[in-house]
Symmetry: C2
Subunit: 305 residues, 2 copies
């Protein structure tokens, strides 16, 4: 492998696009593919080449990065559409590394990795947190599962994309850590909504309230960052309800396989279901407060007159 690997990049959405851009800026040769071709234009203008299919991308790459939405999307990118042989696996030479940065099921990840291994292809699961801001700034947290030697080899690439990169265990471990991360975010958000609902209905000044409770043992990232948004009625994403629901479904399935009951996570999922019932799929996760407003028949913000 040469000093600068040729990188294939599949999935140029809100996260993938700025990540691919950072790789171009770092001087990597980039071949890109996305299901919707219009999302490629910015990257092609910035110097990326376009692949005709995942297979075509893989043929021209030493390392293929995938960042798509869900488990079936990764399946299709790696192993092709039903009946069509257009996946990464068909084009990749032995020795290629696949880095899947999507958030998908740990068990499926292990299956995909084993299938690729049979063709001499190594796979890392490397899901990220840090949002589109972290993607743009190259400051993502990256949780990596896979063999230590392969992780080592890919570190220069991962360091372009993230600032906190941790090898957390074998294949699938990256995904498991990411799911636990989402469990924490979702249940912490239940805490924030319940506390703010009581504070609001008790007539407290919410800014003073948040100042006090963020100062001690009650604090969380969610309270600090989403608490003020909820108090101000700002439900713009951050991180969308739709994607959190996808992640919680995967987490609950993974926990089912491990036979770990997760009543708090299930509650968070159901409270976000209430937001879906209000067509709030594309709102930020802090829109969970809408369910509490319905349940408690109140509003955090008086409606504008």
């Amino acid at each position: 492998m040469s000093a600068k690997e040729r990188i294939g990049f599949i999935g140029t959405g809100i996260m993938g696009e700025p990540m691919a851009r950072n790789l171009l800026k770092a001087g990597y040769d980039l071949c890109v593919f996305n299901r919707s071709r219009e999302k490629l234009q910015g990257l092609l203008a910035a110097g990326a080449r376009e692949g005709r299919s995942p297979t075509d991308v893989a043929r021209q790459s030493d390392v293929v990065i995938t960042i798509v939405t869900d488990t079936p999307d990764v399946d299709q990118v790696l192993f092709g559409t039903q009946g069509d042989d257009d996946g990464v696996a068909s084009g990749a030479a032995a020795g290629t590394v696949v880095i899947d940065m999507s958030t998908i099921a740990p068990e499926a990840t292990r299956r995909f990795a084993a299938r690729l291994r049979q063709r001499g292809i190594d796979m890392l699961d490397a899901p990220v947190s840090g949002g589109d801001v972290g993607a743009r700034q190259g400051t993502l947290t990256i949780m990596v599962g896979g063999e230590a030697e392969v992780v080592q080899r890919c570190l220069p690439i991962l360091r372009v994309l993230g600032s906190r990169i941790t090898h957390v265990g074998p294949s699938g471990a990256g995904q498991t850590v990411k799911l636990c991360n989402q469990i924490l975010c979702a249940v912490n958000l239940v805490a924030v909504c319940e506390a703010l609902a009581v504070a609001k209905q008790a007539g407290l000044d919410l800014a003073t309230f948040l100042h006090v409770v963020t100062g001690g043992a009650a604090n969380s990232w969610s309270l600090e960052h989403l608490g003020p948004k909820i108090a101000a009625g700002d439900l713009q994403p951050g991180f969308m309800v739709r994607l959190m629901q996808k992640d919680l479904a995967i987490a609950l399935q993974a926990a089912k396989e491990l036979r770990v009951p997760l009543p708090g996570t299930a509650l968070a999922q159901q409270l976000l279901r209430g937001v879906e019932a209000l067509e709030g799929q594309k709102l930020g996760t802090q829109a969970m407060i809408l369910t509490f407003e319905k349940l408690g028949n109140f509003q955090m913000q008086e409606p504008p007159r």
Copy 2:
């Protein structure tokens, strides 16, 4: 009122004792009372005088601080035992200030304050967080409800006891903020237990796991401080299950009066009920993990051989 008020101090338990000691060190004249007299000995040796009853304490004080366990205890200290006229109200001259630093019901607090007001006695609710460490170091967070003028007058005393003192609103508001603080702590703890249960059962290295998830949007004070204890099997208090259950019962009652449904808080309460079933009332709140161990039929720590 003279430059240094004479202070009465009622309730010299794990929190009250070190707080009273800090007032003595700051040069205040202190008259102390506690139901169990043996808990007074250290303070008497350090220069405090002993009051024979709450009434007797109030007679010798310009400001009376109370810090006892629950709403009925405050009721009794202020207004006397059934049939006996031995409460603070009987001994306090008009112009006395009562600072109640217990965690009790906001609605009862407002009732107590109104009753005292009729006798010309001012009352602040000033519950604290920060634990026995904060009490010893004088670094408690103090959430104060009451009239601004009275808060102002008591600030020099409160500053001896705490480092973050916030006037959060009228009578009862301090208690409401404290209850919301406890809601946040309890529900954040559910998040920590669920994430660690999955991480453990998935075979992750828990130290690496905690290192990663404390670094981003999943973080909370509970994750940082109780996560490592749970991973290490350390269930010593910090803050006892018994006291958290008292606080959650008050929070759920206050929320009932406000008609705010709190499904996450109720879940936390029931998960701690599981710890009570194991006689874990005096363990730290992180013992909530014991309920998950029972539910999921696993152990965070292998039992010693």
